[in-house]
Symmetry: C2
């Protein structure tokens, strides 16, 4: 028998794509949906309250072979949570273990069951394989699409309009492309319109086309997001962190979000806004993970298990964004994941690798390196250079702090003011300003990734460098040696001034861009900001070494040869700013070195990342993602935070001493009493005690289960009256119920969780928070000498931490922890 899983949607949230729950009509319920509570045991059971009924369930499986487990997994409502609710990790994991036991048990029955068992065992790997394949493909499409559309702003390949500039010039086989970045096949819009190539008119034409395309792309992106998938905007990482920590946001990882975000990110990247596609790629990968997990009931039906797939998907997202599979796994582990068992790590790695492999096979960039910003140099760095590297780290931390502060202020203003009501207009204004400002400046006109590539590269590799490589040529140089000295020519100096302008522009633009209602990521703008700073510092150090080769620090290895690589400084600076903004550590270093292929430069990267993180932590405790989580008040319990408090559980628990705690008694309340409690309170669950006087704790029952059970009993149980007694415990003697004429009592022992997590009132809050984090609790009951005193929910914990943080911010820095 098949049954549609039902879901009670209290507040009528619209059903977003990606959620596979169905609204249960009252009809369905009235038609005798077989909920628990039948007097005859062993057929079907509401086991919503996970942990306690496992053995019971197991026994039942033995009894009722026919309907068995696959059906009991279909019991309506099981494993479904309401929107914007916290999941119960322990319960979900218990459910999965139960499922697993059942499958192992069935395995011996028949070949089909054996195959089913094998499929179940494989499904985790299969699922991450699929996620990797799809993520790699989608990333390839996005890369190709956005590169084509980006070039569309500048011109067209008339012979084959579907080619981007690079491909167009390849097909022309001209060598001039290598030198100038242009070829005759590719026509700028001025040329297409038949204008003179170098005139003022051409410039204006190109300017107008540039701005128009950008506005078109941006407005399209904003409109798509607004109309079809409001969740598709932003980078998505704060929300994914929250979801992975065990929160339900229906539709956030749904198929509409996936489609709109994929299309939207192509559009918004192409529009030339100061944003990147790396953060959204993580979101897109997570959507893919979520959607594909529904192919495997093991994951799709179990929120806790699903998060294993989502962790792997996030790793794959970073992997394709940067071509960094190991960095992706570490990012998932360090930055976004909450529950990350080692099995998940291994699968994440597999997933990330498959995704990177697929992307490399698609080869959207058309070169042989799978990495984004491959640096071709391999020069050793010199020990004294650690000083400027650490300096870059400090600067990076400061820039990141400024950015976070300003961005948060602006986002808060957007939330509070009427600005928030005109998202599309905002996008258009930001785009217009960005493109109008960007076009005249060569460094801002090119795409941000191109700029980063230019900044990271060594002179000689890239030719269209806009003066950045205008070094003075040594006339005495002989054939084989490099004729250019490291003495900067006038082009370099003007490029530096332009870069400084670019830095300020990019910083300001990014502050206003991150948070507008199109898909937008932060990695690329951060890298760019840092790259600019780094390159400038690098050129400075280089000129210093050239003009003062006899200062002792340069004396050793720098006196004779060109020892400073400004590109390396750009790389280090980029890592510093990104580290300051996101507060990533190990994963940042690994991503940077996978991104650039610069294995030699782990130590410089590390030094800068460390300095940047410390400076950032000293100035303001949170990274951008945590700040946005806080701004949006997501219920995220950070596993990294440490705080000092002397509070005990009794200080935090509800109710405070004045109010009474809403409890149920194990066998002395009537149906009406219970319904009154349900009506008068809004708690999600109720402790069950022996009696109101003694308050000895028996178990915990969820509000949802209680409502379902009573509703069902009223329909199915003959003679149930409002004054029937509700029993949460099995009585040892059955005679009572057999007394003729007596009102039948309502047995609810099967929905009672008899193993709630309890703590004593003397438990320090640090331990309590630790338990919430590590065990993934939704609530814990507070007892004293076995008597129930109160309850602490995750909400109480979050409120408590917030309060502590506010007290903390006045006290001295705790930066090094």
């Amino acid at each position: 028998m098949e049954r549609a899983p039902l879901k009670f949607s209290k507040n009528g949230q619209p059903h977003s794509p990606g959620s596979v729950t169905y609204q249960a009509t009252t009809d369905q319920l009235a038609n005798g949906h077989p909920l628990a509570l039948s007097e005859d045991e062993g057929i079907i059971d509401i086991t919503t309250s996970g942990t306690m009924n496992e053995r019971h369930m197991d026994e039942q499986i033995n009894i009722s072979h026919g309907s068995g487990f696959a059906d009991s997994d279909d019991i309506p409502g099981i494993g479904q949570y309401e929107d914007f609710h916290t999941i119960d990790w322990q319960r979900d994991l218990a459910r999965d273990r139960m499922r697993h036991r059942y499958i192992v048990k069935r395995k011996q029955n028949s070949v089909l069951d054996l195959v089913k068992g094998a499929h179940d065992a494989w499904s985790g790997w299969l699922c991450v394989l699929l996620v990797g394949l799809v993520t790699g493909s989608v990333a390839g499409i996005i890369d190709i699409g956005s590169s084509w559309m980006s070039d569309l702003k500048y011109g067209l390949c008339p012979e084959a309009f579907w080619l981007n500039k690079e491909q167009c010039c390849w097909s022309s086989n001209e060598t001039s492309f290598e030198d100038t970045g242009n070829c005759s096949q590719w026509l700028s819009w001025a040329e297409v319109m038949g204008s003179n190539k170098d005139g003022v008119m051409a410039y204006i034409l190109e300017y107008v086309f540039f701005v128009s395309w950008a506005l078109l792309f941006a407005s399209l992106a904003a409109a798509l997001v607004r109309m079809f998938a409001p969740y598709a905007c932003g980078s998505g990482i704060p929300e994914i962190k929250t979801i992975l920590s065990g929160f339900i946001i229906r539709g956030y990882l749904g198929k509409w979000t996936l489609i709109i975000k994929s299309v939207g990110i192509m559009l918004s990247v192409s529009s030339g806004l100061s944003l990147g596609k790396e953060g959204p790629m993580v979101h897109i990968a997570s959507c893919i993970g979520n959607i594909l997990s529904y192919l495997f009931p093991k994951y799709g039906r179990n929120e806790a298990k699903k998060r294993e797939i989502l962790s792997a998907a996030a790793a794959a997202g970073v992997s394709v964004a940067f071509g960094a599979p190991i960095g992706g796994v570490l990012f998932s582990l360090e930055e976004v994941s909450y529950y990350f068992p080692l099995k998940t790590m291994w699968r994440s790695f597999f997933c990330a690798l498959v995704a990177a492999f697929v992307l490399r096979s698609i080869n959207p960039f058309g070169n042989e390196h799978s990495v984004l910003f491959y640096v071709e140099y391999n020069k050793p760095w010199i020990f004294f250079e650690l000083i400027p590297f650490v300096g870059l780290g400090v600067i990076g931390g400061v820039i990141a702090y400024i950015f976070i502060r300003l961005n948060l202020k602006w986002c808060r203003f957007r939330k509070m003011s009427r600005l928030g009501q005109y998202p599309v207009t905002e996008v258009l204004v930001v785009t217009a300003v960005t493109t109008v400002i960007s076009f005249p400046n060569a460094f801002t006109r090119m795409s941000t990734s191109q700029l980063i590539y230019l900044l990271f590269s060594q002179c000689g590799g890239v030719s269209y460098n806009h003066g950045l490589c205008d070094y003075i040529v040594n006339p005495n140089a002989t054939g084989t040696t490099n004729p250019t000295t490291s003495e900067a020519g006038p082009g370099v100096y003007s490029a530096v001034w332009l870069l400084m302008l670019t830095l300020v522009l990019k910083l300001v633009l990014t502050v206003f861009t991150f948070g507008i209602k199109v898909p937008c990521g932060l990695f690329i703008p951060s890298l760019c900001l840092g790259g600019i700073v780094g390159r400038i510092v690098g050129i400075g150090v280089q000129q210093l070494a050239y003009h003062y080769p006899h200062i002792w620090i340069f004396a050793g290895e720098c006196s004779t040869k060109d020892c400073i690589t400004p590109g390396l400084y750009a790389m280090v600076g980029a890592a510093a700013v990104l580290g300051g903004v996101t507060r990533m550590t190990v994963s940042l270093v690994v991503i940077m070195f996978e991104l650039t292929g610069g294995v030699r430069y782990i130590v410089p990267l590390m030094a800068a990342a460390m300095a940047s993180k410390w400076v950032g932590d000293a100035l303001g405790k949170q990274g951008i993602y945590d700040a946005h989580i806080m701004l949006n008040a997501y219920p995220f319990l950070d596993s990294k935070d440490e705080f000092a408090t002397t509070a005990l559980a009794s200080d935090v628990m509800q109710p405070k001493h004045t109010d009474p705690l809403s409890v149920l008694t194990q066998d002395s309340m009537t149906v009406q009493d219970v319904e009154t409690v349900l009506k008068e309170t809004e708690h999600n669950g109720f402790p069950v005690v022996v009696s109101r006087e003694s308050q000895y704790l028996v178990g915990f029952v969820l509000r949802r289960d209680l409502i379902l059970a009573i509703a069902n009993a009223k329909r199915t149980l003959e003679g149930l009256r409002a004054d029937s007694i509700v029993r949460f415990v099995q009585t040892d003697s059955h005679q009572e119920s057999n007394l003729p004429g007596a009102s039948p009592y309502l047995r609810l022992d099967k929905i009672l969780d008899m193993a709630p997590i309890t703590i004593t009132d003397q438990t320090p809050m640090e331990t309590v928070v630790d338990m919430f984090r590590k065990l993934g609790l939704r609530q814990t009951l507070v007892t004293h000498n076995g008597r129930l005193l109160g309850i602490i929910t995750k909400k109480d914990i979050l409120r408590f931490i917030k309060q502590i943080d506010q007290e903390d911010s006045t006290s001295p820095i705790v930066m090094f922890h």
Copy 2:
């Protein structure tokens, strides 16, 4: 006032080096060691039972500014555990938080306190910095020493005996060294003895010297270990895993172990035994971490915090062993660590990087690569090659399984039989057999690392290849192209036969070697076994591709050029066997690619590692380290294991229904009653209940604290009689005690942990085990409706898991989980 921390050593374990506890004489106790229990509050307190008394402690700090915290941290016995006991993570972390709070509070008092606070905040970083520096240096010394002594087996550099062969030949500036691996400066022992260079006599002389030096080195190593540091034998990784999971083995990480293991590993590596120095390097690094942590009371005095340093040290150990800092961190995370917060990860990375950097600066190998087996090739691999790679994974898994099985059998035999009593003899026999067998075979005569290097390398790079590169030269080749074809000549075939022989020899020798009483690691032998298999398979595939270039799988990219790199196969095979033996996953791949610099080959390595792990898991569930943990019955609670059970807490808890539970009551037992309970039982702690009848749980008290407290009270408390009442709770009214003539009661509320972790009897064991793992519990109390039913200790959990495992081994495979 200064006090020596005291330690009660119940079973009189000898005090091994590295432990800084002192034996308290009864005199010290009798001289009025100020333990708790003074009637006047607020001076000093036994807060051994961590979690509950934090607030209390805090208040006291405020009261007694003078003696303050630094002293109360000195309270005898605090934070010290008995040998071979499990630590209580929650309690230790609570103690650290308390310490931290105190320091933060003091910070505002004076500049000195501010500096102290800053020092405290920095001490974690400072400590890992020191650990990194020292580890790098020690590793450098070991590398230099063992390379010199290894060469001593073959000959001598008469002009400068302290140079090894490579250095000796460098100083000679001869070019012949590159080609033949020999130079005139370096004299073989035959030459030193004045014999003819190539005669039979010379061969015999060299043979004899080879064996004699090996026996000398091995016997020295075994003798040193036997005499000074029995813990220095073996690889140490199983024990470190156990220690990191929260177990105390005094002296295992002490200074004697460090010294002897460092010297011993040089000797045993030089002796030519089939072992490596990589595992012991992890042990050595952990010793360094342990010793240096005593410089920082924050870590040295707190077993839980100390494990953060040890985790970082383990990462540094792998980092210097393989030149793989990232791999080291992942190894620490995946393989050895138990409690690994993200803060630790960052510090581990720093530590690993510093160590690798120092080692690179020392440059013991005298080349510019910091990696051990740098591969110079960069050829792409072809998609179809995944088939042989996976095949290698399968073979690797099987070889690893055979190795583990045989080694375990032999180790069990050693344990059971009288063989275990003659460790030095065993070492000598194994060494004699190894060297006698090894010398005639060119591949076994060279050191294992050299062999691995040879196997990994491409032909052309290494010249003294013993036929492995005897490819047929194409006579038609013109100048610039590579004249050698990939058609194997007769030398290759004979080398393959010799390699097969080497494989069998190494496998058998390693089985008998791993476990003898010298420092010995497994990584290098495993890599070597896998390298041999891989190279053989690689040559096979290469010849296949050469002779049948038109088979469709070779048709694409293999038809024209030499497409198969046997060295890559060797690398993949090495990863497969190592993966099968240790069951490492992500860390293995990362180590392999850091080890060889082969960034391109992540996918092949990963495919092989995965296949190998699956095959290994299917054949026998445990890796070598877990198997040895089990063999030695260490109390290690694996956080990776998953198991299926329907047991509830009530099935596992002690006591079983027949025996009564030893409990104390909160305010109705006399001193004599308590002493009787102490005398009649051996439990480490006792639950305290309201009354024997009601059994409502109040708290938990440790045996140790109870003994200390009563002993102290008897000395200090006037009028304490055997029939005085012991009170574990503060009474609200004080009049009772004030009644004249009444026997004074003994107040023990300060040693009572009022926040013990409790569970209900209906809790499924999976949840219980999860709680033990994640919260690091020592015991948990089992209740029903607030009434105490029993107790579950870590020992019970381990027993239970063992039992489950034994049941499991008969049931079908659960390999993919």
